[in-house]
Symmetry: C2
Subunit: 341 residues, 2 copies
């Protein structure tokens, strides 16, 4: 890093200089390409492959809002990048570079070690280079901006769904909400299934590989961050369609079924949030291709409903009408909102 | 915005839904191009002109750290973008798009009105479209990521200076530090010159036009955010050169001379920070071209020293050695540090 003060032998360097060391890793270490100038200048200089559109998204995690106070630093680092990778996945795009704005109350080396390990492990797995950022003293908050690319005009938009398209979802729903509940009120002893649920909150796996495979097959996609009920309402609204979902088709993990009562399972699956799965629209004649693409990257995949003319979301359970207890996305009740991405 | 709840007649909408309205302006309104999909999807889709490298930087402003508590919201919105535009200017690049991560304690319509006005006025002046972001409840902090572009390989890097290059600076130094002092301890009555100094802190003018004009003439550039002493040390370090500056050549405004004692003027000019001027290296045979480029965009411009072999920064005053009271950039003393950009 240009201009970082050099510690004299045996001297403890300035605390913010210390922080720098956790984040200034050569881009090459991540396997990412296209970094003309990274860390150490006024801005990063990046080279997009030819014929590509740029993808950009930003997401902030605030302590006590998006994760419990005292969360594992490794989990915070992982999640800060994962929630952004999930946005890239929902565009059918390749993630490439990230910047980090980190506000933290003090420079605790053990915390920074864990946080940066969580961030860089996931970055490396997806070939993402950290190319810029800043650190500021203040209440703990992490803002990551992700940059990626997609062939021109090929991005999977929310508005691309057509009437008659099926609605498909990856993975299982509600696990992360159960995991958060377990973190907020830890039981005296914790079994393998509860640990599995907790990991779904602490270490979500963004569906980047499947998002890439779905491009050209699915007609539209959105990532599930606020819960199926709210995000499906957004999805239907963006495509100016009505959505119908049959609750009996929702993919629920064995761990969640074992952990919670059916009504709680359903509430978490619909409105718990933090799933970071993909919700997609696909024409009926292409659904087998999409299922094959999911199988190709070992991604669980289920068809849960279909789009039709009109607006809003209709739910059925065993074919009979159902009204979720917590309906759509409530800006009052949520701690934050992405107004754009 | 997709999925935002619709207010029923006469009903006050959710407070975060209200926030969205301040930031969801059509990209076309800013005059910026290249927005394939902006607000309302999982990520923005952007199209870089052919033959360009992408430029990315991020900067965070935290209340009580980077601006006094209770600052004018319009100034906060202006500064949040200005500090990032200054980074783009220092690369000789064209700014194009920005994302915003806004954390704020409550949704105060008057505050949001002022903040968004300050942000969008400056965005429009520089053809920048806001293409993404999120809002979160929490202590007031603003993180902007700026994206821009520059012809391939033409970015003005910090490391490009050569031995024998002259050191030039735009504008005047120390005004913003005086302005901040005036904001922190407002005098009973305030004259025109004090108002001018205050405006230099509250509404900095990033040197975007001059940065573009300097590309191909200057050999290297850095923006002045932390004060000349610290930033010049970084600049010299990045280019592996020694810098020499003659203090009598520093550009000081009449307003600052009238406001403060000479020793205070010098301290603010060297170490006050928040100038957001450009510091450049230029070969002696090109300095007339750079001066002409500055004149062409009405940017004040002064040569203050030169680079030579070796390392570190040497200061003279009337030809005699001088040691600044506050020397280099001190990571301990500063509230934040950009570890990369």
């Amino acid at each position: 890093m240009a201009g970082a003060p050099t510690a004299r032998d045996g001297e403890i360097p300035g605390e913010f200089a210390l922080i720098d060391r956790y984040f200034t890793r050569p881009a090459a270490a991540s396997g990412a390409g296209g970094v003309v100038a990274g860390i150490g200048d006024d801005a990063a200089v990046l080279r997009l492959p030819a014929g590509m559109d740029l993808i950009a998204a930003v997401d902030t995690l605030v302590e006590g809002r998006h994760f419990p106070a005292g969360s594992e630093p490794r989990s915070i680092g992982h999640r800060a990048l994962a929630v952004n990778l999930s946005d890239v996945a929902a565009m059918g795009a390749t993630p490439a570079w990230a910047t980090l704005a980190l506000t933290l109350p003090q420079a605790d080396p053990a915390w920074l070690e864990g946080f940066s390990a969580g961030l860089f492990e996931l970055a490396q797995r997806h070939g993402v280079a950290l190319v810029g950022g800043d650190t500021t003293a203040g209440p703990l908050a992490v803002s990551v901006q992700i940059l990626g690319f997609v062939p021109r005009g090929a991005a999977l938009l929310r508005r691309g769904a057509r009437s008659g398209d099926l609605i498909a979802v990856t993975g299982t729903l509600g696990d992360a909400a159960a995991g958060l509940a377990l973190l907020q009120a830890p039981p005296a002893s914790i079994g393998a299934q509860a640990r599995e649920l907790r990991a779904r909150f602490e270490y979500p796996s963004p569906r980047v590989e499947f998002g890439l495979a779905a491009r050209g097959i699915a007609t539209a996609a959105i990532d599930l961050s606020d819960g199926l009920a709210g995000d499906l309402a957004k999805f239907a609204g963006a495509s100016a369609l009505a959505a119908h979902v049959e609750l009996d088709r929702l993919p629920i993990s064995a761990a969640l079924h074992a952990y919670a009562a059916p009504a709680q399972v359903l509430d978490w699956a619909l409105s718990g949030g933090d799933d970071y799965e993909l919700l997609l629209a696909v024409a009926p004649e292409r659904v087998a291709d999409l299922a094959a693409a999911a199988a190709g990257c070992a991604t669980p995949f289920a068809v849960i409903g279909e789009f039709g003319g009109g607006g809003g979301v209709a739910w059925t359970s065993g074919g009979r009408p159902f009204e979720p207890a917590r309906g759509g996305f409530d800006h009052f009740a949520r701690p934050s909102t992405q107004f754009t991405v």
